[in-house]
Symmetry: C2
Subunit: 399 residues, 2 copies
């Protein structure tokens, strides 16, 4: 028998993967399953993006520039300028999703055994890419009781070791929806300058902020060399399947280094770049309309959750996720039970167990993540299910 690699064994399974067969069985029993478990929006991809793909007349679907088409990078400069982010087109490397941007940032800035500090709960795949890169993710806990705000700087500072090379934040946050304030980012800015660290800022949900404004880490000037922006068009334009993201940094040495990783994989996908370039010309009201839709959903889901006995859901300032604390013994058991044992009005709901978003064992046991990527009727029906489920779940606890 041939051995697989240790890192292959260490790679986490997707926290929801084990639930997928259960959802399939529920459907086969005739149940409607409301999918609040993944960030796959139901919003239509803008027609202008799809049309741009259809109108492409190149006879050969060629490799693009390894950093992405120049025309697209030039357009991205204008996109970022609208967000008060002043960059040059050579500060951008177009990537195959934010996934590749995260991996390239880890590979280019950290070596095997180096450490990156990440507030938990965190986007689960950060952990997976840390394993790929052989680096250690060090977690500092944020709390649902504080609405998942940035942990105290002293707590973050206490985690810094001689191997720490970077801090990684997701703003607005997946899975919590928390929108970091300018003051919190200023605290992080001071910290990365003090310890000469990279600040990886994943801002894939920049457009979706419902209270206050988004402040990008790239708006700082003093940390121009420290900040690596990780971006994605997946959620912005409801175009997850395209697999297109970007690394943006003013650090020339990082760009030069990451370009070598980008060249090894030749180029980002062709059609995705054509669609994304067309997206930059969308009218500004595209986001007004989309944001209003998500805000309506957020307001509904948060209200419904907090109206349930012993349920607490802080009001998320951005993205399209909410983390809720439920009166349950174990979120993994509960989410499986919802699919296997429960139904209400011939339906049930699929949620993401909170434990999958924490690195510290035992954390998030009573928490679940809900992605409000369904319309308000479906959200209401899903909340009806959850409300009934919490009344009859055998592992209910009143705390």
């Amino acid at each position: 028998m041939l051995p697989i690699s240790n890192r292959g064994s260490l790679m986490p399974e997707s926290p929801i993967r084990k639930l997928v067969p259960l959802a399939e069985e529920a459907r086969q029993k005739g149940l409607t399953v409301y999918h609040l478990n993944i960030g796959q929006p139901d919003i239509a991809t803008p027609q202008a993006m799809i049309d741009a793909v259809k109108e492409n007349i190149s006879p050969v679907i060629e490799y693009s520039h390894s950093a992405g088409n120049e025309s697209y990078r030039h357009k991205l400069v204008s996109y970022y300028a609208k967000h008060a982010i002043d960059i040059h087109y050579n500060d951008i490397i177009v990537t195959t999703g934010a996934s590749e941007a995260i991996l390239f940032s880890f590979l280019g800035c950290l070596d095997v055994g180096d450490e990156v500090i990440i507030p938990e709960p965190f986007y689960a795949n950060y952990h997976a890419f840390a394993i790929v890169a052989g680096i250690n993710a060090v977690y500092v806990s944020s709390s649902i009781n504080d609405g998942f705000c940035l942990p105290a700087i002293a707590e973050i500072e206490a985690k810094i070791s001689s191997r720490t090379k970077a801090i990684l934040i997701c703003n607005p946050n997946n899975p919590t929806g928390y929108l970091y304030s300018k003051e919190e980012l200023e605290q992080l800015e001071k910290l990365v300058l003090k310890y000469n660290l990279y600040l990886f800022a994943d801002e894939a949900y920049r457009e979706f902020c419902y209270e206050g404004n988004h402040f990008s880490a790239l708006q700082f000037i003093d940390t121009s060399d420290n900040v690596i922006l990780i971006d994605s068009i997946s959620k912005r334009y409801s175009a997850c399947g395209l697999r297109l993201g970007a690394i943006v940094t003013r650090n020339k040495l990082v760009i030069e280094t990451i370009m070598k990783f980008a060249q090894a994989r030749l180029s980002p996908p062709y059609y995705a770049q054509i669609a994304a370039e067309a997206a930059i010309d969308l009218p500004d009201d595209y986001f007004t309309v989309t944001k209003a839709e998500y805000k309506k959903r957020r307001d509904l889901i948060v209200k419904r959750l907090n109206a349930m006995p012993h349920v607490f859901c802080p009001n998320p300032g951005g993205a399209f996720y909410a983390m809720a604390k439920l009166p349950i013994d174990d979120c993994d058991k509960f989410c499986a039970w919802l699919l296997k044992e429960f139904s209400y009005n011939k339906a049930t709901v699929m949620l993401a167990p909170g434990t999958g978003f924490y690195g510290t064992p035992g954390m998030g046991m009573q928490e679940v993540r809900l992605a409000y990527v369904l319309n308000t009727d479906a959200i209401n029906a899903a909340m009806d299910c959850l409300e009934q489920a919490l009344k009859v779940y055998p592992g209910r606890v009143n705390s």
Copy 2:
């Protein structure tokens, strides 16, 4: 100043990247530059693939299955069956180009410090992905004098250490065009069974064989657990920009392990899968026509090269590359000189220096790789340039 990673420093620059600005300058001087340096075919992407993309009516460009669309994987089973490769659709993970397939194979099967044996000259990015994965590529030299056939098995066996986990071959070969015989593959089969090694077989050029038939490593049954097939649609359908490849193996544990890496990056690109699925239904004469075109080009370029004094080019059995030995001091200098100093009939030629395809220092100094991805008129004009250049190149040596 923030340090980049050691692996970032170690990453090789693309061997032709440093020549790109020189090619740009040559064009600005008004010269035509014949690009024989990269494997970007001029052949049109099949219209049926482009039409499938245009006809797609899904309103949301969603994530696909992390292993690729089921419908596409089912079709791939029929594609492989035509090549006498009997597999199940669950033996396939669709990847973002062969690039990702190579990386996932390294990550899933080898740990940091493990070794993979690769015949040199080799596809330059194997070296890059070995650095990404932190593994050591160990090279065993094939020789232009033997037409780059498989090095003697005893030589390969001598390279096996306690850290050796795999042998990697590219068949037909990039950069040499060599097509491995069934006997050579049988020798490799025995070796990987004897030492319990993986055999990574990159068969991206399967369709393009001009003498004899291609024998796939997956046609062996005894090594079902050892063989990991790396595949790509880039060259097959002249669709490099789509970024779509595959890992195919009967080893269930490897599939399960690599699936976790695939899940972390969510899914392969959407439009690429639609185009690739349509490609499976292309009439068989698509390859007859394309192959005839490449064979005509190969025959021409090999004849022209061997007609030049002191030039030797073995006849490549497959792919669309030829390696030639030239009467020059240093291929890097020569390729730069062609762009900077030389012109003939207001044109010059861009070649890939042989050194970039070797891991052993000093190897390939007199060799260049030529990709016959241009039509025969352009190839003739490019060979006219090369013939003249070799007459006047200051670093000419008569050996």
